[in-house]
């Protein structure tokens, strides 16, 4: 956990006062909607189909139990009793009233939560591996650097009006759980041959209507130079990114149009000039240490890997199914990382009620040193659970419907809010997800299929990251009807790829059938039971799937 100090607290309180004044001026008519729009967006407030939507940042996916309880309070007091966890470690509330927003922000600021820059053409919430600090084999905790970037990008006077939004993601593990290759800047922390900590810097990844996988712009930037290098990228983008067409304004288009070599050279020239005249952004060890010192780590005990409680519970098939699915190894022996599926059968992906949030906060206090994580797959995690507590935790999670053993399986669907909430959407996402969770509700079937990520977006803006789903579903509108394009073979990890269209778009009513046919084709085509869906597509290409799925259509 990162603990705010007096300076951090002062800044977010000043932000709340500023926004209170802006809302007051809007309500009195002193600010036009055009003037106010960007100001509210920079505080996470969208105008959606039915009401204002409020997006709150959960930087690098780390929450304390106190903070989660406060999110529950906001859901209850200002919304309709639930919240929606997004693919970028944010939580959204869908029914907020503008006049009450300053109070909601003040309530959140009390516990060190903000909504700064969760929208608008600025640097967005910095995301990271939800297992940061606890994943076995991790090189260092990437949240230290995430926090440095969070601070550096917050209210940046030069980069608050960029051509378009700008997203950072950071990982420090070989297996990328932060999807860094589909971010504007992706950072992979590693140690070079001299043992120095630094970053491979990727740039120009992104989804939306023109998907690109990020390219390496610099293979190694020393940690002390991270902020100045980032500033050089942002400065080049701010000046030369396109502003004539909103759909061509992301940095990925600039990188694509210039080519990565030319873009890299522009950044290098800018960076060298910056370094020659100015060292203000260079981080010294003491500064990094100061940030590190405000992250607290649990006092782990020496505990057995196979305690009696676990041996006893192994006779319960339901517990075992959950343990095998939702419990991951921890860097400290005797502990585990537990994922809490927010994908119950028939439920909207990523939603949690205020009561569930409160209950998870209590369980975190009891079993996870008061800490909770939020992942881009729209699930929660308890990062420090003693293995002896797993049976008790499972019972408690089952009671609040958060023990569905479907993590990483076909029903662990990522979906945007879609036409049910969003004013941009062309088609519904949530009901498609709900139908699929019903079709594949049988746990044994889902297990037989194995790891398979389905991603659903209700429009080309791709908030459900359909391009990088093993199966991607994109809602489009055809003559006033909802149709869905289906891609296969995408992935968002260290081998990120954009999926390939499998055939013509299908109407709403046929989507679940097509997905079932794709899965059947996979089961028939896979070389052996442990060849994952995405590997079969890689090995065979799309054609054999197309033949089987579209033969009778």
């Amino acid at each position: 956990m990162y603990a705010y100090d007096e300076l951090d607290r002062t800044l977010i309180n000043e932000r709340v006062s500023e926004f209170r004044d802006q809302v007051k001026r809007r309500l009195s008519g002193e600010l036009t909607e055009d003037e106010f729009k960007m100001l509210r967006l920079q505080n996470g407030v969208y105008l959606q189909l039915h009401a204002y939507m409020f997006r709150v940042a959960i930087p690098y996916g780390t929450l304390s139990s106190k903070q989660l309880r406060r999110l529950a309070h906001v859901a209850r007091r200002y919304d309709r009793g639930y919240g929606h966890f997004t693919t970028r470690q944010n939580i959204q509330f869908n029914w907020i009233k503008l006049a009450e927003l300053p109070d909601a922000l003040a309530d959140l600021a009390d516990v060190g939560i903000h909504a700064m820059q969760t929208s608008g053409n600025n640097t967005r919430n910095v995301t990271s591996d939800q297992w940061a600090g606890v994943a076995p084999g991790e090189i260092a905790d990437p949240r230290i650097w995430s926090e440095l970037i969070r601070q550096y990008t917050t209210l940046h006077p030069e980069f608050s009006f960029l051509p378009r939004k700008f997203k950072f993601a950071i990982t420090a593990s070989a297996h990328d759980r932060a999807a860094i290759k589909v971010h504007d800047i992706g950072l992979r922390l590693y140690k070079n041959a001299e043992g120095e900590t630094g970053f491979e810097v990727l740039v120009g990844g992104g989804l939306g209507r023109t998907p690109f996988i990020g390219k390496t712009i610099k293979p190694f930037v020393h940690g002390r130079d991270l902020l100045s290098y980032v500033e050089a990228i942002l400065r080049v983008y701010n000046q030369y990114g396109r502003r004539d067409n909103i759909y061509k304004a992301r940095i990925k288009i600039l990188v694509h149009e210039l080519g990565i070599e030319k873009f890299a050279q522009e950044v290098e020239d800018e960076w060298q000039q910056m370094r020659a005249t100015d060292t203000a952004l260079t981080l010294d060890d003491a500064m990094i240490e100061d940030i590190r010192s405000r992250f607290s780590y649990p006092a782990y005990e020496k505990l057995p890997h196979m305690p009696d409680e676990l041996k006893k519970a192994a006779h319960d098939a339901h517990f075992e199914a959950w343990r095998k699915n939702s419990v991951a190894p921890h860097k400290v022996s005797g502990y585990a990382i537990v994922t809490l599926s927010l994908k119950p059968v028939g439920g909207p992906p990523g939603d949690a009620t205020a009561d569930q949030m409160d209950a998870v906060a209590d369980l975190a206090d009891k079993y996870s040193f008061g800490e909770i994580r939020v992942g881009h797959e729209q699930n929660l995690a308890l990062p420090h659970v003693a293995r002896r507590d797993l049976p008790a935790l499972w019972k408690a999670l089952d009671k609040i419907d958060l023990a569905t053993p479907n993590v990483n399986l076909i029903t662990d669907i990522i979906a945007c809010p879609g036409l049910d909430y969003c004013s941009l959407a062309n088609a519904r996402s949530i009901p498609i997800a709900q139908e699929l969770t019903r079709r594949f509700a049988n746990h044994d079937t889902a297990n037989l299929i194995g790891r398979l990520h389905i991603n659903i977006s209700g429009c080309i803006n791709a908030c459900g990251h359909h391009h990088v789903g093993h199966i991607g579903i994109l809602g489009v509108e055809k003559n006033g009807e909802e149709f869905y394009q289906i891609t296969i073979g995408g992935r968002a990890d260290e081998n990120a790829e954009v999926g390939t269209l499998i055939g013509p778009a299908v109407p709403y009513g046929e989507v679940a059938d097509v997905i079932e046919d794709i899965v059947e084709a996979y089961l028939a085509l896979r070389a052996q039971p442990d060849e994952l869906f995405v590997d079969t597509v890689k090995r065979l290409g799309v054609e054999p799937f197309r033949e089987r799925v579209y033969a009778t259509r």
Binding site: D5, L7, D8, T10, L11, E14, S17, E18, Q22, E30, E35, M38, L39, N121, Q151, Y152, T153, T154, L155, H156, P157, E158, F159, S160, F161, L162, R235, N238, Q239, R243, Q273, M274, T277, D278, A280, L281, L283, A286, M287, D290
Partner: protein, 171 residues
């Protein structure tokens, strides 16, 4: 349109000269970049002082040879959502050590005053009277800053270092 300079509403001493109007012999003038670049040597040496309106899609490098002779550089925000002039401002002030007046023009609104100030602007052609009157209070909204710019405000990281230093010194 009120001009805010050094934090106060001030009279604009510059005469805006249109591209097709004759350049007066005396007095301070503000002209377009195109007009200025027709004869930059002479225009930058005018006795009354010359200011240039520099568009936000043109490299400020072209202006560098004349910077120490210019009274004013006016950068442009065609809308407040177009942030290119923030980068130009920092480059002029921090990299090229421009010491004359740096003026924000275009859609200059209250809620961007502090960003502009931090980027190096010291004069503001403000759109609305009410915003100009609120200038002094608005720029006091924040007392904590997370990133260094040329404005000299100390960053949170540096303040923490000083704090740690004084803590350890007093022990």
């Amino acid at each position: 349109m009120p001009l805010v300079k050094n934090g106060k509403i001030s009279r604009d001493a510059l005469v805006h000269v249109a591209d097709d109007a004759p350049i007066p012999d005396g007095g301070a003038i503000l002209i377009s970049a195109a007009r200025f670049l027709e004869d930059p040597e002479a225009l930058s040496r005018r006795a009354g002082g010359t200011g240039v309106i520099w568009p936000n899609n043109r490299d400020v490098d072209d202006l560098v040879p004349y910077l120490d002779r210019l009274a004013v550089v006016a950068l442009v925000f065609p809308t407040f959502r177009d942030g290119r002039a923030y980068s130009q401002a920092r480059l002029l002030k921090e990299r090229y050590n421009y010491r004359g007046e740096l003026r924000a023009t275009g859609q200059v609104l209250r809620d961007q005053f502090l960003f502009m100030l931090r980027a190096g602007f010291d004069a503001f052609e403000v759109k609305k009277d009410s915003d100009a009157e609120a200038f002094a209070n608005t720029v006091k909204r924040y007392s904590v800053f997370y990133q260094p710019t040329g404005d000299g405000r100390m960053t949170a990281l540096h303040r923490r270092m000083m704090l740690r230093h004084s803590e350890s010194a007093s022990q």
